[in-house]
């Protein structure tokens, strides 16, 4: 398998924080190569380093050691300005609490990442309408977040994450604030995105129900890769390579 067929390549990545005078080893020597078009989950107990790993992949945090490549591009040494530009092009983020801008309508929230592109107003409108249609909220585009249910808010957040057609979608506990029915709907939507658009999706979750929707599950424990298990769906693309520190 050639290098750029991997959506994500982590090479001996560690992340160490300083909390006052204490050193916290959030991630310790993680090596993963994840092929394009996978839908995977990262699971593990609180404090195991799941979100830290996601933040490194999304380029919103920096590794203390090792190399992070996303879509074949080395992001470890990028300067903040370049990294911001890179995120705008390659990353779609979905958060646990949706994090929609309350003063903007669903349409405007989804349009937000497109403001960073060179698209004109008409093209932006077309992209937003398509994204909202994909998540099934074409009829709610003029609603404000307070006028939507939690599940609908998360769908808008997913539309916002995919509207720029990013290389990868990273989702941090996307079902963590939802009831069982809405959670299943969101997971099904993510599967659909993965299948229909071949989107690489990497999701941090505590939700055991998520296992049957994903192709692989990475288990983290105390900052190290504790194991990889198959998910409920068979992988549609090449083999994952992974190595932990033990």
């Amino acid at each position: 398998m050639s290098e750029n067929e991997y959506a994500i390549e982590l090479d001996h990545v560690s992340r160490i924080y300083m909390r006052d005078e204490f050193e916290v080893r959030a991630l310790d020597d993680i090596t993963i190569k994840l092929p394009n078009g996978r839908f995977v989950a990262i699971m593990g107990p609180s404090g195991s380093g799941k979100t830290t790993l996601l933040n490194l992949i999304a380029g919103i945090d920096h590794a203390t050691a090792g190399h992070v490549k996303v879509g074949g591009e080395e992001i470890t040494s990028m300067k903040e300005r370049d990294l911001a530009r890179w995120r705008a092009r390659h990353i779609g983020l979905v958060f646990q609490f949706y994090n929609l801008i309350p003063v903007l309508t669903a349409f405007e929230n989804v349009e937000l990442p497109l403001l960073l592109t060179d698209l004109n107003k008409a093209d932006r409108k077309q992209h937003v309408e398509t994204a909202l249609k994909v998540v099934g909220l074409a009829d709610r585009m003029n609603h404000y977040p307070r006028q939507l249910s939690g599940g609908q808010e998360q769908r808008v957040a997913i539309a916002r994450a995919i509207v720029t057609d990013p290389t990868i979608v990273v989702a941090d506990e996307p079902t963590g604030d939802l009831d069982a029915k809405s959670a299943e709907e969101i997971l099904s939507l993510m599967v659909e995105l993965n299948r229909m658009f071949n989107k690489t999706i990497i999701m941090v979750t505590h939700d055991q129900r998520a296992v049957r929707f994903v192709e692989q599950v990475f288990h983290l424990d105390k900052g190290v890769l504790a194991g990889i298990e198959p998910g409920g769906r068979a992988p549609t693309s090449g083999a994952t390579q992974a190595a932990g520190s033990h």
């Binding site: 919103i60 995120r87 003063v103």
Partner: protein, 380 residues
């Protein structure tokens, strides 16, 4: 421009807070512009007369003592003197005692030469020389009493026991110095006719042939009448008007200091409000940065919000000060009408913009540079 809609949406996020911030800036800048207008107008008057070749000669005992008329010819003979005009203060009122404005009787033949810079049309001066009851009125007084050229008006005497009926033949136009705009000139020969004898001459206005000779003319006049029964005191026009304003100097300085304190205080209040508003949105800002919005763009958007708030406050404050000064411009400071000068308007708007930008600078900069993961964790 594509971010403007977002900036405006954020401005109306908390309507009450935005309104109160705009209102508080407006009130403080209203106070600032009203306070600073007074010294600025005074400085403008002094600047207008700084290069004047006019000299005022009055009785050394004080302005309320009269000048012997015989002095007029003697002063006219002093080297470098072009012309001399005797002036008698009439002190009349238009309808009632609150309708006051400076009205004086002057020598009609020499008036045009003396006040050639007071922007009167040549036909106005010509009519002034021809018609005994003619008068020329300042533009502000014309506007205040809705007068027009050709109108006949009656001034009620307060110092003299009679009224004068005058015909308006000209106006001190908009290019005239600021201190001329409320004056009314009428003819001294008409005053003496109505008085059935010589009127009380308060001052002699003297025009030197050049500003370089003003001091020499002043010295010669005062030397000539030294040790006489009516010694004179001569002053350049700027010094004469400056003398009237001297008593207000301390007050003006106090106004300027108070204006500055008000602006600094509201700047601190606005800074606190901006900090609060930005702190509440740290999560959203982190989300936008995680999407790829550069910190410079975030900073610009936050500063734009604050800039608009400051500028709106400035516009409302200036507007209110402009209107209120105009409405209450009846009370005079010396011989002037108090209006907000353009310079004060600009200063106030600049102050508003600076308040807007500086008040948000530190919180906006901190928010635009904050660690994204830390901020997201706080939201979660």
């Amino acid at each position: 421009m594509k971010y403007l809609a977002l900036v405006i949406k954020n401005l109306f996020r908390n309507k009450r807070r935005t309104f109160l911030t705009v209102f508080s800036i407006a009130v403080s800048l209203f106070i600032f512009s009203a306070l600073v207008s007074l010294p600025t107008v005074a400085n403008q008057v002094l600047a207008d007369t700084a290069s004047s070749v006019r000299i005022v000669t009055h009785n050394k005992a004080g302005l309320t003592y009269s000048m012997p008329m015989a002095y007029q010819q003697k002063i006219a003979a002093v080297p470098h003197v072009q012309t001399v005009v005797a002036q008698a203060w009439f002190g009349g009122v238009f309808h009632d005692v609150t309708d006051q404005f400076p009205n004086v009787a002057i020598d009609h033949e020499q008036a045009e030469q003396m006040w050639s810079d007071w922007d009167v049309a040549p036909e106005g001066w010509e009519q002034f020389r021809k018609l005994r009851t003619a008068c020329i009125v300042g533009a502000d007084t014309m506007k205040r009493f809705h007068l027009h050229v050709g109108q006949q008006i009656i001034l009620k005497g307060t110092l003299y026991p009679f009224n004068v009926t005058l015909n308006i033949v000209g106006v001190f136009g908009p290019k005239a110095p600021i201190n001329s705009r409320t004056f009314l000139f009428f003819r001294r020969d008409y005053l003496e006719e109505a008085n059935h004898g010589q009127a009380y001459v308060d001052e002699m206005w003297v025009r030197a042939d050049s500003s370089a000779n003003v001091q020499q003319v002043i010295n010669n006049i005062d030397e000539q009448f030294a040790n006489s029964s009516a010694e004179t005191q001569s002053e350049a026009e700027s010094a004469f008007i400056g003398g009237f304003l001297k008593g207000y100097r301390m007050l003006f300085r106090l106004f300027e200091i108070l204006g500055f304190i008000v602006v600094v205080t509201i700047g601190l209040v606005a800074a606190n409000t901006a900090a609060m508003s930005i702190r509440e949105r740290r999560g959203e800002i982190a989300v936008m940065r995680s999407m790829g919005f550069p910190s410079g763009t975030i900073l610009s958007m936050l500063l734009s919000e604050s800039f608009i708030i400051g500028l709106l406050g400035g516009l409302f404050g200036c507007g209110a000060a402009f209107v209120i000064l105009k409405i209450f411009s009846g009370p005079r400071m010396g011989q002037m009408t108090i209006r907000m000068p353009t310079a004060v308007l600009l200063e106030t708007l600049i102050a508003a913009a600076v308040i807007g930008l500086l008040s948000a600078w530190f919180p906006a900069r901190a928010a635009s540079k904050m660690n994204i993961t830390e901020a997201l964790r706080m939201v979660a």
